[in-house]
Symmetry: C2
Subunit: 233 residues, 2 copies
């Protein structure tokens, strides 16, 4: 026997809450931080939901395998894919010893709408998951922690937004990811004190009397600074 | 053929600069950020220096393998061992396809002094390395970047210090890790504004007229917040 290597991906998107979802009650503006999962159709854990992924491929980089498996199951191609962690606990799989290198990705709502969905692929509210296959609940718990943490000190929220956005759109991303309402005045002060977010000369077009100003991220800063690993590996 | 899994560790310590080391010229207070390396005694890369490590063991967690290999080669048992990254580029080893899960650790000077040293184990200045085996130069470059980055937003410097320390000892850690002198007055202001570092009622003992005050880290904050993965995996 030996150690088998697998690759999985946690994909986050902000999606409109679906009526009937428990999380709808708490949903800020009826958007929910969501994750696509794939239903297993064989043992072990036949019938349970799991992260998209599969065995590592000898002829492919880990990130390429993550992206390919993701596309094969969900038809998603996220622009942003980062390594999260290698999970290697002894008892995490009844297959034998399996180490999973897990990636995480963020996609915009428009992209998320293009994702394949069907009887074996479905979006779940990230904070309201059933019992998943393997240790995938724990992996998602860690990914959620990283996402919420990183929101504080990087411009990662950008991955959920367009090139320009209003302060209330940015605040909504923070509210949905953090699962709590934020005070608009405090939020504005924090953003205005942050060097990474800059006001543009543009305003939202439309017939409003005082159209809100559009902001953008300072793109001289990396989306999430990965230093010497900025190129996909 | 298949994919082999290896585990390696980058260990950082602040050590007194050794006369003759090129880095001595720039050394702040003659301390140098240092890394122990192991000389390979077989092909590939026979004779080159490499990170301590070896093949993953089916019956052992990745972190346990990292710690064991580290002890076997250097006799070091760092209190702090964290996963850095899984390196999986296609061409990184002439062994065939090898994925290395790399850990990193920080040790105090007293511990570093206990490390085995000999013809096949030696400390190197982290910024003045020879050409290493495999992609280990690149791995260390990434570990250095993470260490320098993390110094800014976590209490990771603690791992290089005792329970209490003076502001000039803390500044020295920052200076040696960042490889640049820092203005003492600015540094004091930054530390005093930081909630994670708190003054104690104690001062350095000895015959000085105005003995400097001792500080400590607020231990209600994790050394480096790893969220749900705070326990070793």
């Amino acid at each position: 026997m030996s150690i088998e290597l697998a690759v999985s991906t946690v994909i986050f998107a902000l999606r409109p809450a679906v009526a009937g979802e428990e999380a709808v009650e708490q949903a800020v503006d009826r958007m929910v931080l969501s994750i696509p999962l794939v239903r297993r159709t064989r043992e072990p854990f036949n019938g349970r939901w799991a992260l998209p992924g599969g065995w590592a491929d000898e002829a492919e980089s880990l990130a390429d395998t993550a992206a390919r498996k993701l596309f094969e199951t969900t038809e998603l191609s996220p622009a942003y894919l980062e390594q999260l962690y290698a999970f290697g606990d002894l008892e995490r799989s009844p297959f034998g010893r399996v180490v999973s290198v897990v990636y995480w990705a963020l996609v915009r709502e428009e992209q998320a709408q293009l994702a394949a969905e069907g009887v074996n692929v479905r979006w779940f509210a990230a904070d309201d998951l059933p019992e998943l296959a393997f240790d995938h609940n724990r992996i998602i718990e860690y990914a959620l922690w990283r996402l919420r943490n990183k929101l504080e000190y990087s411009r990662i929220a950008h991955a959920f937004l367009g090139e320009t956005f209003t302060l209330s759109e940015l605040r909504q991303v923070h509210e949905v990811v953090l699962c709590k309402p934020l005070d608009p005045a405090n939020f504005r002060r924090q953003v205005e004190a942050s060097p990474g977010i800059v006001p543009t000369d543009q305003h939202v077009t439309g017939g409003r009397h005082r159209p809100p100003r559009l902001y953008r991220y300072d793109t001289s800063v990396e989306l999430a600074d990965n230093g010497p690993l900025a190129n996909r590996t």
